[in-house]
């Protein structure tokens, strides 16, 4: 566990940088987290994905790569282009939600 500063505010994160409390997240933190995973700028499409992820998590639903593919927001090819390398991991981290629970 660690405390990080995003948008000038202290935030509790786990060892991998995932927010412990998704309510601590604000939109202006997203670009700073994105930089840490090598994404220099976030566009509208990034924010569509972030909004979708936060909605799903708020509804208590599980996120998975397949789910993203069926989200209607992005297809998997776009998802990889938007968040290169580890899209699900990076997108959830930037969205300020806990690590996807499908991983149990």
């Amino acid at each position: 566990m660690a405390t990080k500063m995003y948008a000038g505010k202290p935030v509790e994160v786990n060892d991998e940088g995932f927010f412990l409390d998704k309510e601590a997240w604000t939109k202006d933190m997203a670009p700073e987290i994105a930089k840490e995973v090598g994404i220099d700028a976030l566009g509208d499409k990034h924010y569509d994905v972030i909004e979708y992820i936060r909605k799903r998590v708020a509804a208590g639903e599980q996120l998975s790569m397949r789910g993203m593919g069926k989200s209607g927001v992005v297809d998997l090819k776009e998802f990889y282009q938007l968040f290169p390398g580890k899209p699900l991991k990076y997108a959830t981290r930037i969205s300020g939600v806990p690590k996807p629970t499908s991983c149990v």
């Binding site: 208590g60 397949r66 789910g67 998997l76 991983c103």
Partner: protein, 409 residues
């Protein structure tokens, strides 16, 4: 007469039928259980079949043997649940009305969802071991396989028993040493997770065991397709891993009838309150086991612990009282590591697996997150416990709530 309907006579449905028939008077409650298969498959045993440790007859028994008297049994599939009119339509068109419904329809592997997985190499060089046919076919393959690159791949989470693919890799290492061809076999473990397991402490220790056994790990790999011509798996981002023999854990989905009923998520899992186990959208429907979308492992141990919570909550619901029991996500898994050893994980929604002793603090006999012979015997003895105690809904000396006692926290 009120009617309780249970869909599915696997681990979850069978346990609930046994528990509830005891409590609900036969003059007031009719209980009916529906399943399309007559045989109960001991799923943990599938892991041992490819290595010739268990045979088909070790993992199959008639479902009827485990269902109590006074429960109607219908061995037939169903087409649809209609929650608005409180009824289920069977394949034959017959309608079953219910006052309370328990969905215990489990999950199934769906290799057809991944392009090329069920291609021309299926059951030749590409196998699953999560079905009886798959594990039997793989047993025949492994018996005289001459070696090469073995790739164990998980397509995507969630899957049943998330440690089983790891156990497969560990047992393969042991099996090929016994056969004297370990030097001719490369073992790769290719997973969508970032490491061996998602929970960090367990992942670190399990990664250590993988390394000792010279099993290579490739993480963050989400299976997009299987290329049969070039014998390689390709992830959605374009990364490739070639194989001589692919042991795949295909995508998992809920039953088609759940999807057709419009009560599942995109993958056919029923949105369920993770504490009360009540279906999110329907007060008189409860969901137990792999069929739900609750964020814990899809595993028999979870079903066992959750069944005690569901039992209490259903009795509350029947009496019109607020539900008093809350599930903590407790899971408990033995991990076979080969050479007569096993490790053990015990965790819940909030506490990740850690080291220590189980179930008695300081005594064990089982050791958490480290290898021991006792754990291995625990796993083997468990098959007897499963058939004779667990399915019958009897009490086991292990609390459904995860305990922190004996854990090194």
């Amino acid at each position: 007469m009120r009617r309780l309907l249970i869909l599915g006579a696997g681990t979850a449905g069978t346990i609930m039928a046994n528990k509830l028939r005891k409590d609900l008077p036969t003059h007031a409650w009719e209980i009916t259980i529906v399943d399309e298969d007559r045989e109960h498959l001991y799923q943990p045993g599938l892991l041992f079949i490819p290595f010739g440790i268990y045979k088909k007859e070790d993992v199959l028994k008639p479902k009827a043997n485990f269902l109590p008297r006074g429960v109607n049994r219908i061995f037939e599939g169903f087409q649809k649940i209609e929650p608005e009119s409180n009824k289920v339509i069977l394949n034959s068109g017959k309608e079953l009305h219910y006052d309370l419904l328990i969905i215990a329809t489990g999950t199934r592997v769906a290799p057809e969802e991944t392009p090329g997985l069920k291609g021309e190499l299926w059951y030749k060089d590409v196998f699953d071991f999560y079905t009886l046919e798959g594990s039997l076919a793989l047993a025949r393959k492994l018996r005289d396989w001459e070696g090469g690159k073995l790739v164990v791949n998980i397509a995507d989470m969630p899957i049943k028993c998330p440690v089983a693919p790891l156990e497969f890799a560990f047992l393969a290492d042991w099996f090929f040493q016994e056969r004297g061809i370990r030097d001719k076999v490369e073992i790769y473990y290719v997973t969508p997770m970032s490491g061996a397991f998602t929970k960090p402490k367990a992942s670190a220790i399990l990664s250590g065991i993988l390394e000792q056994k010279h099993i290579h790990v490739i993480g963050d790999f989400f299976l997009g397709e299987v290329n049969n011509e070039e014998k390689k798996i390709v992830d959605f981002g374009g990364a490739e891993v070639d194989f001589d023999l692919l042991v795949s854990v295909p995508l998992h989905m809920g039953q088609q009838a759940i999807i057709d009923s419009g009560i599942g998520d995109d993958f056919g899992f029923v949105p369920t309150d993770k504490f009360t186990l009540q279906a999110r959208d329907h007060e008189n429907i409860f969901v137990l086991g792999d069929a739900s979308n609750i964020p814990t492992s899809k595993a028999g141990s979870v079903v066992h612990f959750a069944s005690e919570v569901l039992h209490e909550n259903i009795l509350c619901a029947i009496d019109g009282r607020p539900m008093t029991a809350s599930f903590d996500g407790h899971a408990n898994c033995y991990i076979e590591t080969g050479f007569g050893n096993a490790a053990l994980l015990d965790f819940n929604y909030d506490t990740e697996p850690t080291t220590g002793t189980f179930p008695l603090p300081g005594v064990g006999p089982f050791t958490l997150l480290s290898e021991s012979k006792a754990n291995h015997y625990g796993k083997l003895i468990f098959r007897w416990i499963y058939w004779h105690i667990l399915l019958k809904g009897k009490e086991l000396p292990v609390s459904n709530k995860m305990s922190l006692a004996g854990k090194d926290i």
